[in-house]
Amino acid sequence: MISVLKKLVNATGISGREAQVRDLIKEEIAPYVDGVETDAMGNLIAHKKGNGKKLLFAAHTDSIGFFVTFIEKNGAIRVSPVGDIDFLAFSYSEVVSENGVKGVIISEKDGEIPKADSVYIDIGAKSEKQAKSKVRVGDFFVPVPKMTKLLSNEYAGHSFDGKVGCAILIEAIKQIKETKNDLYFVFTAQQEVYSRGARVAAYSVRPDVAVAVDTTDAKDKSSVSDGNAVLGEGVSIKIKTSRMIYSPEVVEKLREISTRHSIKYQCEVANSGTEGDAKALQNGAMGCLVGAISVPCANIHTSSEIIDMKDAEETLKLVLKIAEEYEI
């Protein structure tokens, strides 16, 4: 799974521009599924036929990044954020455009918290003309891809959010032997901008049960920390986030399956946090049951997200057992 994740991390894509990531996933899974198609929103929908009701797994292919909105006379490049970006977390980071143009994000006002209209990307261009020869309005930039191994199975990198879920589903697709259900694996588009892809995918598939697979905010080692999950404590089964109650029936079955197979897990009941694709899947399917399982990830949406690969492995185990045993 580590090599698949590395490949995904090196593919660049932001919400609405996921083609590179999507093509990579399609290549990986095509020999193992009965059908795969891309819909109008850019969701990749893979089908592994089975008897029984429809069970859908979803992970998102997009990451946060920046759209180029304006090129200044002096060659500075103005941008607009895609997804929830804390510009402080990206100050002076190296970035790269979809066409491989390298740059750095600079904050204009020293000492003030940077916002979208007070940052620019410097690609070393000395004039508007020079900049425009490399970059156009509407192009995107992302932080330079990286993945670094730390101690005790921890990895630091960018764009784990989303891609870890994709890596898990890719591995699951390859490893599933038999299933009780008709399985759909959806690699969704535009999750970082309010889950716009998921709704549409669920509308066409109309699953009976949907399970979102993603990262979740984990506590880090500082004494004051957002996040509820704990790195190393296993896959996180979500019960509630600030606006979403996951179907209690699904939560109960996930707990049962995990206990039965000694899968290490933790439960999340949070005051804050977003609902990821789960709510959109539920809406698109006109009211299916929905659950979410997540890999704890510290420092989400910064240039150095941290995961414990063992948690990802437990999540993969759970996905496999759900596919094999979940009775709808």
Binding site: P248, E249, V251, C267, N271, G287
Partner: protein, 342 residues
């Protein structure tokens, strides 16, 4: 009046924290299903009662009142048998200090929400409203005992027992929106089918307090021609202006909004007038704050109207309504059911 109070008290006692309505919804379908052609609970937890007209091709009318109530879920079990909780729906945290709760674990467990003792209050904290993250529940058990009885995710409710006051007022937790569920039930349960102009689907919906999705899903399923959404609205009191509230005891509220169908709303007002039923109007230009909006845009669009019952102290343990208003709403609904051509 007595029968109405009895049904309302019964509804208020049912445990229906948003997202955890199934068990109570099933009990509701069983208890009242006999008065209807059909009663079922869908996978989402919406309870639907159906009573069909004897007319051929009668249009479908959906009447929605939500069953769920605001509440909490256990988020962690701490040392000395304390619990941390997470709020479900918009809670008024001012009511928490020293309030009593019930935790629905393997059995019902009594708890008290801790209030800050005077010597630990700072100038700043004593003036601020309590934050959800700081709420702790004292159960009196040890951590071991508690862990055997309670799990992360178990629902918790504040205690707010049903109590009758003078002049036909009642106090309880969860009158939002059970007062309307009561009105909807009593309006239809004893109706004579031969007089109905519509196939009526009474949806006692789930998860209104957490995203208003229950009604949206059930409306997409039923595909009604018309829908009336009933929910509570703010009652006039100190510091609440007359332009943003209705009077307790002044009859049901009929909402005027850019998000409802004007013709349908005006027709309902006319029906109330023709039948001598007292009502009030309240204007909410661009947001009703109810299931209305999502029902309106469900499927290929539904013509909707919104009616309400005046309620004091919304989302607290001492919400109050006037039974007269519950019955006035039921009367208007009954008159709508027999009026053709809406």
């Amino acid at each position: 009046m007595e029968k109405t109070k009895e049904i309302l008290k019964d509804l208020c006692s049912a445990v229906s924290v948003s997202g955890h309505e199934h068990a109570s919804a099933n009990a509701l379908a069983e208890k009242y299903g006999g008065y209807f052609d059909n009663a079922y609970v869908d996978k989402f937890g919406n309870c639907v009662f159906v009573k069909k007209s004897e007319l051929e091709n009668a249009p479908r009318l959906l009447v929605d009142a939500h069953f769920d109530e605001v509440g909490m879920l256990v988020s962690s079990i701490e040392e000395d048998g304390f619990l941390h909780i997470s709020g479900v729906g918009g809670l008024d945290t001012r009511i928490f200090p020293a309030a009593e709760v019930t935790v629905y674990g393997k059995k019902e467990i009594y708890g008290v929400i801790a209030s800050t003792p005077p010597h630990l209050q700072s100038e700043k904290s004593s003036k601020a409203t309590p934050k959800m993250d700081n709420i702790i529940i004292d159960t009196g058990y040890t951590k071991e005992e508690l862990s055997a009885l309670v799990r992360v995710g178990d629902p918790v409710r504040l205690k707010g027992d049903f109590k009758e006051l003078a002049n036909g007022y009642v106090l309880s937790r969860a009158l939002d929106d059970k007062a309307c569920v009561c009105a909807a039930l009593i309006s239809l349960m004893n109706s004579d089918k031969s007089k109905l102009a519509y196939d009526i689907y009474l949806t006692v919906s789930a998860q209104e307090e957490t995203g208003r999705c229950g009604a949206s899903f059930v409306a997409t399923d039923i595909k009604p021609d018309l829908a009336v959404i009933i929910d509570v609205n703010f009652a006039r009191c100190e510091n609440v202006t007359e332009f943003e509230s209705i009077e307790c005891g002044g009859g049901a509220g009929i909402d005027i909004s850019a998000l409802t169908n004007r013709r349908f709303t005006k027709a309902i007002m006319k029906i109330a007038e023709q039948n001598g039923i007292e009502y009030q109007t309240i204007c909410e230009p661009d947001s009703t704050g109810t299931n209305n909006e999502l029902v309106m845009i469900s499927g290929t669009g539904v013509r909707t109207a919104v009616m309400s019952i005046p309620l004091m102290a919304m989302h607290t343990t001492s919400e109050a309504v006037c039974i007269k208003d519950v019955e006035s709403l039921a009367d208007i609904l009954r008159a709508i059911y027999v009026t053709k051509g809406l």
